[in-house]
Each structure stands twice: as structure tokens, then as C-alpha cells.
């Protein structure tokens, strides 16, 4: 270790000591004692020299009897003032805890001291409060949204089933109603499956059952699973999956990512001349998969919200989705410690790029 390094280390240590709450306490007590001793001494000496009544003989015992109570009284007085200052953050915290217990997440606790243990405690407390309020908002919104999203198809089913009971219905009408009911049921099913999966993933912190597999083959499997959809729409596939890309993860979980990204790409492809590009490459520290389409694309505003549950940017495709696909994708990518980027120009399509790092330890997240 160099001399400079040693002094930097020493400075850091001294700094840490100076900023610690314990030092503040000890320092305050020392200063209070010093101040009250000095002032009490001053008073005593002033009394001695002034000799106000002229009779009393100021023996040492008399002087001590004046100095002691004066010092005790002054010390107590200073302590009251200083302790109020020092313990203010504690009072703040107590009040904040009571406020949060009532479900009020509105105001963060002010940080009164720079960089001591208390300010760190308050900062973490504020972080916790932010997280809690996030969860609370998510929970409130989510339940509200879920109930609404379930109610709509349920109402449709109920209504059309009652309509079906009408004997005067024409065959076309009957078929139409049955189609609507079936679609509503499919919607409910899709939503239930997605919510179950999402809630399972929300409670998950690490990726279990990792195994090594070829990512390009998994992408091909996902593409094949959606064959019915892309061949019906006559989508042209441009696949760059020739290299074997081995990756270690939970295959089943990761499959949902490709399934969702691909089915989105198919959904937003134009009816004529749709092209979907898929590529998968080993990049620095992990793998990068890109899925792009040449569909309607999206504007900046839409881009900001696509990963939120139940958000659907394009209302004309509302019936085909449930607004849970991309939140699911995001969650899975997050669990991998990865990244998902969206590039899009309205009218020219969208490209989703997923980067998954190779190894991730829970501590890194």
C-alpha cells in the first residue's frame, strides 16, 4: 500500500467516524459538559470576585455548592435543546411509521443530517416507502383492471346466451352469437392463464431448474408453434438462426418470451406483405435475440407504456390480446437480469431486442 493510499484510507475512516451517529452523540455530550462546566465556572468566579453581599466568606465548599447546581442546571438545559435536534429524525420516523400504517404513502421523511447512520436509515426508509406505494398502486390498479377485463367478456357471454334462447333468431344470428360467446370464453381463458403465470413469476426471485439448451432451436419451436397464425396471414419469415447458440436458463419460462414476442409480431404485421425477422446471436456477456415486424409500429407515448399490465396501444387489435403479454416478457427478462429494448417508427414496424446475460447471481440484481 502506498503512503497516499494509506492516508486516503485513514481520511475515509476518520470521515466515517466523524459522520457516525455515535460520534455525534459522544461529541454532543462532551460539548455540553464542557460548555456547562465553563459557564458554571465563570458564574462561580464572577460571584467570588463581585462578592455581592459583602458578608459571606466564599470558602471552597460554598463555591462548589454554587458551581455544581449551576453546571447541572445548564447541562440539562443544553441537553434538552441538543437532544431535540439529535432525536428529531427518530420522531420523524415514528410519525412516518404511523402514517404508513394508515396507508398514506404521500410524503417522504426529510433527511436532516448529511451522511450519518440516521440519514442512511431515513434514505432506506424512503426507498421502502416508494416500493410499498408502488406495490400498493399496482395491487389496486391490477385488481381493478382484472375485474374490469373479466367483467366485459362475462357480460357478453351472459347477454348473448340469453339472446340465443330467442326462438325467432335466424341461423346467421345464432352463428354470430355463438362466435361471440366462444371468443369471449377464449379471452377469459387466455387472461386466466396469463394472470396465473404472471403471479407465479411475481413471487419468483431466482430462476429455478436451469438447463443448457440451443436457443435457436427454441426459437424455431416457438415459430413452429405459431405456424397456423403466420401461415394464415402469409407472413414472410426471415430467420437468422443458423448458428447454434447455447444458453442456460429455465427453458419453459423463456419460451413464453419468444411466444409472446412472435405472436405480437404476427398480430401487428400488415395483412399483405408482412415480414418478420428473427435473429439470435451470442454477444458480449450473453445472448441477443431480435424479433421485428414491418407492421404499424408505435409512437413514443405508446412505447412508454407497453410493458404495463392491461395497456393496449392499438385499440383495433384489442380483441386479440389481453395486455399481459409484454408485462410477462418484461418480468421474465428481469428475472434473467436482462434487458429488453424497443425500437419503433410509426408506420414502419417495431423491433424488440432482448439481451440475456450468461450468469446472474441474486446479489447482482
Amino acid at each position: 500500500m502506498t503512503v497516499g493510499g494509506f492516508f486516503r484510507g485513514l481520511k475515509r475512516r476518520i470521515g466515517a467516524i466523524l459522520h457516525s451517529f455515535r460520534f455525534t452523540m459522544i461529541g454532543s455530550v462532551f460539548l455540553i459538559m464542557l460548555a456547562s462546566a465553563v459557564i458554571a465556572g465563570g458564574i462561580t468566579s464572577a460571584v467570588y470576585h463581585a462578592n455581592p453581599d459583602g458578608f459571606t466568606r466564599y470558602t471552597p465548599i460554598v463555591l462548589v455548592l454554587i458551581a455544581l447546581p449551576a453546571s447541572i442546571l445548564l447541562g440539562t438545559f443544553f441537553s434538552i435543546i441538543v437532544s431535540k435536534q439529535i432525536l428529531r429524525p427518530v420522531d420523524d420516523l415514528i410519525r412516518a411509521t404511523e402514517r404508513i400504517a394508515r396507508g398514506d404513502f404521500s410524503t417522504p421523511v426529510p433527511v436532516r443530517f448529511r451522511k450519518n447512520q440516521f440519514s442512511r436509515l431515513i434514505e432506506s426508509f424512503n426507498d421502502m416507502e416508494r416500493e410499498l406505494s408502488g406495490i400498493e398502486i399496482f395491487r389496486k390498479d391490477f385488481i381493478g383492471n382484472v375485474s374490469h377485463e373479466f367483467k366485459t367478456p362475462l357480460n357478453a357471454i351472459r347477454g348473448y346466451v340469453r339472446e340465443l334462447a330467442d326462438p325467432a333468431l335466424s341461423n346467421e344470428e345464432r352463428e354470430e352469437y355463438i362466435r361471440i360467446i366462444t371468443e369471449a370464453c377464449d379471452r377469459l381463458t387466455g387472461m386466466t392463464t396469463a394472470i396465473l403465470l404472471l403471479s407465479k413469476l411475481e413471487n419468483q426471485r431466482i430462476i429455478s431448474e436451469r438447463e443448457s439448451f440451443d436457443l435457436t432451436e427454441q426459437l424455431r419451436d416457438a415459430i413452429l408453434m405459431l405456424e397456423r397464425d403466420w401461415s394464415k396471414k402469409k407472413v414472410e419469415l426471415s430467420l437468422d438462426l443458423d448458428e447454434t447458440v447455447t444458453y442456460s436458463s429455465n427453458a419453459e419460462m423463456l419460451f413464453h418470451v419468444w411466444e409472446n414476442l412472435l405472436s405480437n409480431a404476427i398480430k401487428f404485421c400488415p395483412d399483405e406483405g408482412g415480414v418478420i425477422r428473427v435473429s439470435c446471436r451470442r454477444t458480449e456477456g450473453g445472448v441477443t435475440v431480435t424479433v421485428s415486424d414491418n407492421g404499424a409500429g408505435m409512437d413514443e407515448e405508446t412505447k412508454k407504456h407497453i410493458f404495463e399490465a392491461f395497456f393496449q396501444g392499438d385499440t383495433s387489435h384489442k380483441a386479440e390480446g389481453n395486455g399481459l403479454g409484454l408485462p410477462l416478457v418484461r418480468r421474465i427478462v428481469d428475472l434473467h437480469g436482462g434487458r429488453i429494448d424497443v425500437g419503433s417508427t410509426p408506420g414502419e414496424g417495431a423491433a424488440f431486442t432482448v439481451f440475456l446475460p450468461d450468469e446472474v447471481t441474486p446479489a447482482d440484481r
Binding site: D214, R220, L239, D240, L241, D242
Partner: protein
């Protein structure tokens, strides 16, 4: 008419499934649990089992093991409410032939049942007829009606047999490799390309089927005269 036994404990689902099968031209035999199914098996001929995984008493997996244990090769299509991969694996390793996740699309059910029956027929007869061509699994031979007969090298024959058994279905090179060369094989996936090329050369002007390359994905056999998927 093919007899399909529906082993399902939920009465509503059982009734619905039987109805769908009847409409599809099959003869459904309802059974409310595994024990009843085993009992009915002695009395009726069954061509295919449609089996629910979660049932009171003996569950689906155990039922498959019992059936397979007594050397019944009847195709089994499993249905389950859970769609996890481990479930799927367990089903296939127990001896199921196919696996569907509830809720089940009726049309897809009928398609899968017919595909399973078709495959079972191919498997028991060990031969396959495509237009004017007849493939004999034991002899590894392909004979053309009014034409010659050729004996194919084993891998080429198996490849052709596989593709023609599932017309319209795309297989990735890896899937074909795993099936024909085994999971542990180190053979290059491009070996499949070489075999496909040889097969195409063998049947240069075949009009009954063609092997199509799907770029970036794999291969598919199209039967001419039938609807392409």
C-alpha cells in the same frame, strides 16, 4: 368406426367430449375414473384413450403405466389443466402419445385424434401409402405402383417415412436428428440436408409428394392432391 374411450372424472367435460367425438364420427366410450376404464377395456375394443391427468383414485400417469404394463399399445392422448413442461415430460415418459392442455379446442381435439389414429395404423401396419408409392418399414423399401421398387439406406428411409407420416408438418433439423440419429449423436445437423438431397434425387419426378425446405426452420413433406396446411 373407431372407439375412443374418454376417461374423465368431471361429468360435464366427459359429456361434452363424448359429444364432440360423436360429431367427429367416432364411437365414444365414457369412463368416470381409471378403475372403470380398466374394467370397460375388457368388454370393449378401444382404438384410442383420451385421458385426464388429475382423477381421484388412480391418476392418469398411473393408468398409462398400467395399460402399457399389460402390453397394450393403444394410442393415448392426455388432457390436463396444467400446462407445465414437467407435466408434459412426465406424460410422455409414462407412455402417452400426445398431450393437450385444457381448455381444449374441439377442432384441434378431432385433428389430433385422427392424426394419432393414422399414426397408430402406420405403426401397426408398418407400412405407409402415399399416392402411387408404398413404403414398407421392415424392408426399408419404397415401391411405386406400375414402377420399380427401391431399397433405401436406413436413415434415408426413416427420414422419408417420418416426413410422410406427418404430411404438412414442419420438422426442424434438430428434431429429425434427435429422432433418427439419437439425442446423444454428434452428427452435424447438415447431415439431414445431405439425406434430404439424396431423397429428392431418388424421386426426381414424383408428383405425389414433395419435400419442401422451409428456410431457417426445417423440412416439410407436402402431399399433392391434398390441401397444404
Amino acid at each position: 368406426m373407431f372407439a375412443v374411450m374418454v376417461v374423465e372424472d368431471d361429468a360435464v367435460t366427459r359429456r361434452l367430449t363424448c359429444q364432440v367425438l360423436r360429431r367427429g364420427g367416432y364411437d365414444p366410450i365414457p369412463a368416470s375414473d381409471a378403475a372403470e376404464a380398466l374394467e370397460l377395456m375388457d368388454r370393449y375394443h378401444v382404438d384410442l384413450f383420451l385421458l385426464d391427468v388429475m382423477m381421484p383414485g388412480m391418476d392418469g400417469f398411473e393408468f398409462i403405466r398400467t395399460v402399457r404394463g399389460s402390453r397394450y399399445e393403444t394410442p393415448i392422448l392426455m388432457t390436463t389443466a396444467k400446462g407445465s413442461l414437467s407435466d408434459k415430460r412426465q406424460a410422455f415418459s409414462a407412455g402417452a402419445d400426445d398431450y393437450m392442455v385444457k381448455p381444449i379446442d374441439e377442432e384441434e381435439l378431432l385433428l389430433r385424434v385422427s392424426a394419432l389414429l393414422r399414426r397408430a395404423k402406420i405403426a401397426t401396419e408398418r407400412r405407409l401409402t402415399v399416392g402411387r408409392y408404398a413404403l414398407n418399414y421392415d424392408a426399408l423399401s419404397v415401391s411405386e405402383s406400375g414402377g420399380g421398387e427401391q431399397i433405401l439406406p436406413q436413415k434415408e428411409f426413416l427420414l422419408l417415412f417420418k416426413l410422410l407420416s406427418y404430411p404438412g408438418k414442419i420438422f426442424t433439423r434438430r428434431q429429425l436428428m434427435d429422432e433418427l440419429w439419437g439425442m446423444e449423436s454428434d452428427t452435424d445437423e447438415r447431415t439431414v440436408d445431405v439425406h434430404i438431397k439424396r431423397l429428392r434425387d431418388r424421386f426426381p419426378d414424383c408428383r405425389d409428394f414433395e419435400i419442401v425446405t422451409i428456410r431457417g426452420l426445417g423440412y416439410r413433406a407436402n402431399l399433392n392432391g391434398e390441401d397444404k396446411k
